[in-house]
């Protein structure tokens, strides 16, 4: 989905602020929220990591941007546990003593885009083009590189194709590639002529240049 989570290249944000000697967790509830996700995945086997990422992506954009990281974690976990029927939303609100916002419902399952766990189609040095796909469900191809031409820097192992597994589709592995794009191709002439961005892309996202 073309959601708020796909932040790369968005303008209007301010300074990056590094906190000195930052603790791993600032508050006990952050550690508990992190642990609830591990409990739900590893112990309850309630969902997979692609469903989890998509649940966070489905948060209302206003909520997503105003929430801290661990509030997003909590919201994603709670949304999935409600959707899977493991916990009840009204019960959560009674227990919390107030509103417990969840993410929005899945809009559409991503169609399976094909492909299989074959040998890599591309090799280091090949030129590829990122398909200009616009799935309404989960995808890991950022908006900023769709339709752009890049070069394969490295062939990484096969991993589960997230667009399918986030929606209960087949668990299908396929090669991933580190694809290098010129910053100017992505961002225009303001970008430095030397700089590049490397995006890690599943094979299904790529096609041969025409």
């Amino acid at each position: 989905m073309d959601g708020i989570h796909d932040l790369g290249g968005m303008e209007g944000f301010g300074l990056v602020e590094i906190e000195d000697d930052e603790p791993v967790f600032h508050e006990p509830w952050e550690a508990q929220a992190f642990a609830l996700n591990i409990v739900s995945i590893a112990l309850l086997a309630a969902y997979n990591v692609d469903e989890y990422r998509h649940a966070i992506e489905r948060m209302d954009p206003r909520h997503y941007l105003s929430a801290t990281y661990y509030e997003r974690v909590l919201t994603g976990v709670a949304t999935l546990l409600v959707e899977k029927g493991i916990v009840n939303h009204e019960d959560l609100e009674v227990r919390a003593g107030g509103s417990f916002p969840l993410a929005r419902a899945v809009v559409a399952n991503a169609p399976s885009l094909g492909g299989d766990d074959a040998r890599p189609r591309y090799a280091v040095g090949d030129t590829v083009v990122v398909r200009n796909i616009r799935p309404h469900g989960h995808t890991r191809v950022p908006r900023y590189c769709r339709g752009k031409r890049g070069e394969i820097l490295h062939v990484a192992p096969s991993f589960t194709f997230p667009d399918d597994s986030a929606h209960g589709g087949p668990i299908r592995r396929e090669p991933t590639y580190h694809v290098e794009f010129s910053a100017r191709d992505l961002w225009g002439e303001d970008a430095d002529r030397l700089d590049t961005v490397v995006v890690d892309l599943w094979e299904t996202y790529l096609e041969d240049p025409s």
Binding site: H5, E11, R104, H178, D200
Partner: protein, 195 residues
């Protein structure tokens, strides 16, 4: 199901976490000590692990060669493996190329060698800006790169997890591996600082 338009203020976040924890415990028994074990494991994921990898790579040419060829195995050699470390690729800075890591779509990080990521790495500011305008972001963080150095931004969009290998600082000849390790910062392992 209600959604998150936030028409009314949400309950306190700590109360929401407690509510979900209670609701899960009411329907599924969580074995004693499970959460404590998870949180103890978190304590073992820290940037000083990545610093160990870097310091060893500066002192041991054969190790560096193994690290660059198979980062996952070279990190595992030192005991650094596990979730979010299934496929680690080391990115060596050179006088010509400076590497910097981001995850624009969520906050993926190589937990075993970098630890759970800091807030700034997970912030919309960093995720939105560094892919598009790395030099101003790095400059704001105190790192001015010469114009002849290429900046390569690595967006962690699939399952590879990256670790930047900073250049060894000048004047550290004769330092022990432990001394070198102590000099390597988390920021340098992500690529927003040099040493």
């Amino acid at each position: 199901m209600k959604d998150s338009r936030l028409e009314k203020p949400a309950a306190d976040i700590a109360q929401r976490v407690r509510a979900l924890s209670e609701a899960v415990s009411a329907v599924h028994e969580i074995p004693d000590g499970f959460v404590d074990t998870v949180l103890e494991q978190v304590e073992h994921w820290k940037p000083s692990n990545g610093a160990h990898v870097v310091a060893k790579s500066w002192c041991d040419a054969a190790y560096r060669e193994r690290l660059m060829r198979d980062g996952t195995a070279a990190c595992a050699e030192l005991g650094y493996e596990g979730p979010q470390g299934e496929y680690i690729v080391a990115l060596a800075n050179t006088p010509e190329v400076h590497n910097v890591i981001v995850c624009t779509q969520c906050s993926c990080t190589a937990w075993p060698v970098l630890g759970l990521p800091p807030d700034w790495y997970k912030s919309p500011e960093y995720r939105a800006r560094v892919a598009r305008e790395p030099r101003p972001v790095l400059l704001q963080l105190g790192l001015e790169l010469p114009p002849e150095v290429k900046v390569r931004v690595w967006d962690t969009t699939a399952e590879t997890r990256y670790l930047v290998i900073p250049m060894r600082p000048e004047g550290t000849q004769g330092w022990s591996e432990d001394q070198l390790r102590a000099s390597v910062t988390r920021e340098s392992l992500i690529g927003v600082a040099v040493l």
